[in-house]
């Protein structure tokens, strides 16, 4: 008897009990779809976390003054002084001999000001820094130009506006370049507009105005000796921790203290990212387990139905054997039935999963994990074969008369 004839016989078997076959299929369908959807939600949310961290700037260290466990002071002998980030620190860190893994260091002074232009106003965070600040924190200039070293040297009153600050101050269609914007009591000339970065959860990265730190110190903070932050860009994310220890030892030496007692806090973006990534990986794995459990439940459903089917049809098996069906054919028929049911359930489950993944779920845009399709599908098929194999084998091994006597 050919495989084809056997498959036809199996299809007839499925067809003769539509409801039961449908329910079994539904079990597989839900399991497969759950695996695909939950893994996509996990992948989607971990990508969202990674994206928002990446927006802060990649390969960067941020040194905060006044932070850290030292409480902003350092003890050196009997002397106590306030620890500040100075131009000397910047010069030392940017020296490739003392910090070979540092790409650039940007001193940062920040203040929050109300920016106004012809009656329009917007609260904006003013960042005073050097040109290297923009690439290090992932800002790109959309039009105009970035602040330059010459601007820094000249204490020029020029500013690059973030996209939301610009749109709050200027009417759409008008060209802000070359216009004057008042920050605090000083007029700054707009020289560039920054591309939107999106908000990174904590702060809106687009409500900014970036100016030379010299100008910000002159006009707004009044401070001229220290910086609130240093933004250090490493040569690569792989060597960022090396860069971090170089920066830390320079700062420790400058403040006559040890690295462990450093009066600054150093935020490593890469380690933040890897912490976040590993926690979202855990989250994805957890979702994966939930999905696996639901697939397992589906599998037990298929197994159960196959057992019931075979028990219910023991007489049928007896009749088939009595009129000459060999064991292999009976086995094949039930196996094909199980495989067809789980295959159909698997295909429909993949389709359902692909459909659901297109929608936002709980604020997360799921991202299809390609591996989840063959995974879910393969497991469904495997389950079908195993679920079908045991009961079919049991039935096919019966002596015809025992199967026939079965009630």
């Amino acid at each position: 008897m050919s495989i084809l004839a056997n498959a036809l016989m199996a299809l007839r078997g499925i067809n003769s009990n539509k409801l039961r076959s449908l329910l079994t299929m539904l079990g597989v369908l839900i399991g497969v779809a759950a695996v695909i959807v939950l893994l996509a939600v996990g992948t989607g949310s971990s990508q969202a976390v990674a994206n928002s961290i990446n927006r802060l700037g990649t390969n960067t260290l941020t040194v905060f003054s006044g932070g850290g466990f030292g409480g902003g002071t350092s003890q050196a002998g009997t002397q106590t002084r306030n620890a500040v980030l100075t131009q000397t620190d910047v010069t030392l860190i940017s020296d490739p001999n003392s910090a070979p893994d540092v790409q650039s260091v940007s001193p940062v002074v920040t203040t929050s000001e109300t920016a106004t232009h012809q009656g329009a106003s917007a609260t904006t965070s003013v960042i005073g820094s050097t040109p290297s600040y923009l690439p290090a924190s992932n800002y790109t200039v959309q039009s105009g130009r970035s602040i330059s070293s010459a601007d820094v040297k000249a204490h020029a009153l020029v500013v690059d506006l973030g996209s939301s600050t610009a749109s709050s101050l200027f009417a759409t269609g008008s060209n802000p370049l070359g216009k004057q914007v008042q920050l605090g009591s000083s007029e700054f000339t707009v020289i560039g507009l920054l591309a939107s970065k999106g908000s990174s959860g904590l702060s809106n990265g687009d409500a900014v105005a970036i100016a030379p730190y010299t100008a910000v110190q002159d006009q707004l903070t009044g401070e001229s000796q220290s910086f609130s932050q240093l933004l250090v860009q490493g040569k690569s994310s792989a060597t960022l921790s090396l860069a971090q220890s170089e920066v830390e030892s320079i700062l420790a030496a400058q403040n006559d203290t040890t690295v462990t007692n450093l009066p600054f806090s150093v935020l490593n973006q890469a380690s933040l990212l890897s912490t976040a990534t590993s926690s979202s990986k855990t989250f994805t794995a957890l979702l994966g387990w939930v999905a696996a459990v639901s697939l397992l439940v589906g599998a037990i459903g298929v197994m159960n139905i196959m057992l019931v089917t075979v028990t219910e049809r023991t007489r049928e098996i007896g009749i088939r054997k009595a009129i000459g069906a060999p064991k292999s054919v009976v086995l094949g028929q039930f196996l094909i039935e199980a495989v067809v049911i789980s295959l159909l359930g698997g295909v429909l489950g993949v389709l359902a999963g692909l459909f659901v993944v297109r929608f936002r779920i709980d604020g997360v845009q799921p991202v299809l994990a390609t591996y989840s399709i063959p995974l879910a599908f393969g497991v469904a098929l495997l389950v079908g074969v195993f679920a079908g194999l045991y009961p079919a084998f049991r039935a096919a091994s019966l002596r015809p008369i025992d199967a026939l006597r079965h009630e």
Binding site: I319, G324, A325, P326, K327, V329, R399, P400
Partner: protein, 261 residues
């Protein structure tokens, strides 16, 4: 002339000391207690006996559906204990046509599909299958019931479908467990004519019956009591048209014909 005296006859069925024991709640129940029987090719054997005397048990063993607790069974000279599942199913499919006491039709299949099934296992192409199944159903008087499902048919009609399924593969050995048990005289004559013509073509027929008129078709009658053969004699089969079944058929003829479109 007795079949075993003819030189071109050989034993198809050779049972020696067949015992079938069932264990029921600690008690041993013997369905057969040592049956030895040899049936030669071309014989038409009727097995008779009271209910519970072990007739079906014996038939199931002969049909390779069951195995004896002890004793030997040779079918066409082959000890069936030496055969594996594939060989046994081949024998059940090609060599034996079995009519069950309880019909054993597949409820999810139409009459014609039931009759086609053994040919499907034999690998007969579907066109030929259909053609032969139609012929077999016609020969048992069911030309008008081919598409009906078992639950849409009377007991007698189901029994005739079972007979059609048993003879459709043209087996050399036909085993029938009370094939006319549920039939009226007219249908009994149809079924017995089918068996008689197979017998006339040289097939071996073993049939269980309670009715002396049906046993009259046979060339040999074996009687069982409590799992032991008590009588075994050869006879000249009475021609169907000479028996009183034929008269009964004439008497019922008008109504039976009226019942068929």
């Amino acid at each position: 002339m007795g079949p075993d005296r003819s030189p071109n006859r050989w034993p198809v069925i050779a049972l020696s000391n067949i015992v079938k024991r069932y264990v029921m709640g600690g008690n041993d129940v013997y369905a057969t207690r040592g049956v030895s029987l040899s049936v030669s090719s071309g014989e038409f054997v009727a097995i008779m006996g009271a209910s519970g005397s072990g007739k079906s048990t014996l038939m199931n063993i002969i049909g390779c559906l069951d195995v004896p607790t002890s004793g030997h069974y040779r079918l066409d000279g082959v000890n069936i204990r030496d055969l594996d599942d594939r060989e046994l199913s081949r024998i059940r499919n090609r060599k034996i046509g079995f009519v069950f006491q309880g019909f054993n039709l597949l409820p999810t299949m139409s009459a014609i599909a039931n009759v086609e099934l053994p040919m499907a296992y034999a690998g007969v192409p579907s066109k030929e299958r259909r053609h032969r199944a139609e012929g077999a159903l016609e020969s048992v008087g069911l030309a008008d019931r081919m598409g009906h499902f078992p639950n849409e048919m009377s007991g007698g009609q189901q029994q005739r479908v079972a007979v059609a399924r048993a003879i459709v593969t043209d087996p050399s050995l036909i085993l029938a467990d009370e094939p006319t048990g549920n039939l009226d005289s007219k249908s009994s004559v149809d079924v017995m004519s089918a068996f008689a013509s197979l017998h006339a073509q040289g097939r071996t027929v073993v049939m269980i019956t309670h009715e002396e008129d049906i046993a009259a078709y046979a060339t040999r009658v074996v009687r069982l009591r409590d799992g032991i053969i008590t009588q075994d004699h050869h006879q000249t089969p009475s021609h169907p048209h000479e028996s009183h079944l034929a008269h009964a058929r004439q008497a019922e003829g008008s109504s039976a014909l009226a019942g068929r479109p």
